[in-house]
Amino acid sequence: MLVLIALTLLKVVGIVLAFVMLVATIMTWADRKQSALIQDRIGPNRASIGSVRAAGLIHILADALKTLFKEDFTPRDANQGLFRIAPFLAFVPALLAFAVIPVGDTYCPDGAFIVQNFRDVCTAGAQADYFRVSNMGAGLLCIFAIVSLGVYGASIGGWASNNKFALIGGVRVTAQMVSYEVTMGLTLVGLLMIYGTVDLNEMVRAQGTLLWGFVPMWGIVTQPVAFFLFFTAAIAETKRPPFDIPEAESELAAGYFVEYSSMRFALFTLSEYVASVLVAMMVTTLFLGGWQVPYLYGDGLHNPMTGDLALSIPYLLVKVIQIGAFCFKVLALCWLQLQVRWTLPRFRYDQLMKLGWKVILPLSLINVLVTGLWLLVAA
């Protein structure tokens, strides 16, 4: 029991604190540097420790210190209790969802396994889940359940501020997230039909299968349309531009968190970055093969043509390479989101709703239909 708790805590620290929070805070810096590059500016470079400026990275520390020491202001007519609790309601679900994402494959004790049907099957003892916090079976549904709770923080924060801009922001947040959640769920039905599981690690393992002998069966190969629809809807769920109508600076000042200051404000902004990392991880896990490296299995690289072992690699090193591949894919998708964020202008509210309900939703339904027909013909 104690070992289990200690192991879980270690996994939480390793995955959520060391990786997710680190990437999220570095994204705040990368966001500003990226915009500076695009707009031909230099970007943040003033904060320094001694003479070390580290390309503006010190700004992360400076920002954290600054927000901590700002006055934590609550408007007089705000709903005190809900106003104070709302940032946490936004931040906690954003972090919770990482519990079921597999960063690496299950570990076989003593490295005893055989590669069978494109996956490592343990021969001695049960496989251990060292690289994800919880191994509950309904992992994909669990993520959706948690993500769907993220809307409370923003909408209640907007309502409790007793400010018209904030209220409009809160209402917009609710409408937007409810609309795009439907699409997010429907785009994944195709994936569920093809891989036949909601266990995320099983889904990643299934993506290591080779199609026609040499194409890895990643989600983006089997469900290309769903990939684009899901990525779009997921970016909309993060409330970041071009889908940032809940905060729309030019219309609503800062939208639902206009009354917030200090660390509560920082929690709202940080939860958007954490949501971006979550989107990157979900897209990686579902569509880009998660920790899979093409043709790399537990014992080493395989020749896709013959299926023979081409290059033998120690088991532990394979694990390290796979986790590294996962991190690389996540970082690449984070960068892609920054690129989208600084390239596309903001949607208008009616455009956003039209895109969600009249374009993406019907397309995802058609995708389900086509996938079903294809499976029927193939079977």
């Binding site: 007519d77 705000a78 709903n79 809900l82 509950m136 079976g137 309904a138 549904l141 669990c142 959706f144 359940a145 948690i146 993500v147 769907s148 709770l149 809307v151 409370y152 909408s155 209640i156 309502w159 409790a160 007793n162 209220l167 809160g170 209402v171 609710t174 409408a175 997230m177 409810v178 959640e181 909601v198």
Partner: protein, 206 residues
């Protein structure tokens, strides 16, 4: 350990359910407090489901009720301009007495139902199945198979019910004042909106 968590979540569920009916705050802000207490209540119920090995049910409880339906409740409460006189109605009317009696009758029915051997036998069989197959019990595959075989009729009936409510929602959302499907109160509200008499100013946090 398990008993401790069961009593913890069960008592929390009862406490939050009471907070739904008797929100800690009166006036225009009461509805949103009720709604949030209801969300908390759903969580406690989901936790008890999870302890009964019904993980899928627990996840769906959070996903559907806490994550979708209650979000829309809060959305509507935020949009509606609730006045204090509408929310402070506390007089005991016919409907309240009737609903109270119905709740009592249902509770008595459930207790009587659980004492029946015809009911207890399948439940004990379920428990045996749960102990025998802890890894598949309550899994998506098992529930899916049951839904599409043994309970197919009820399953399809539910989908007809949902379809009817979707059609109803579309009819109301069309908002055509000439439509005969529209309730009288909504017609009057639309009339007021179209002829410039907006609703009275917002008060409080609404």
């Amino acid at each position: 350990m398990e008993a401790f968590f069961f009593y913890l979540f069960a008592s929390l569920a009862v406490a939050t359910a009471l907070a739904v009916v008797f929100p800690p705050m009166r006036g225009a802000r009461a509805p949103i407090h009720s709604a949030i207490a209801l969300v908390a209540c759903f969580f406690c119920v989901a936790a008890t489901y999870a302890m009964l090995q019904a993980h899928l049910l627990a996840v769906l409880q959070v996903l559907v009720y806490a994550g979708a339906i209650m979000v829309l409740f809060i959305f509507v409460i935020m949009l509606l301009n609730l006045q204090t006189d509408e929310t402070a109605r506390t007089e005991v009317g016919f409907v309240k007495v009737l609903s109270g009696l119905l709740v009592l009758a249902t509770t008595a029915g459930v207790i009587g139902f659980l004492r029946n051997d015809d009911v207890l036998l399948p439940i004990s069989k379920q428990l045996v199945a749960q102990v025998a197959h802890p890894e598949t019990y309550g899994s998506i595959e098992e529930i899916g198979k049951l839904m599409l075989s043994e309970y197919l009729f009820a399953f399809e009936l539910t989908s007809i019910l949902l379809l009817a409510s979707i059609v109803g929602a579309v009819v109301i959302a069309k908002r055509d004042p000439r439509s005969t499907f529209m309730p009288e109160a909504l017609k009057q509200q639309l009339y007021r909106e179209r002829h410039g008499k907006s609703a009275s100013g917002r008060k409080g946090g609404a």
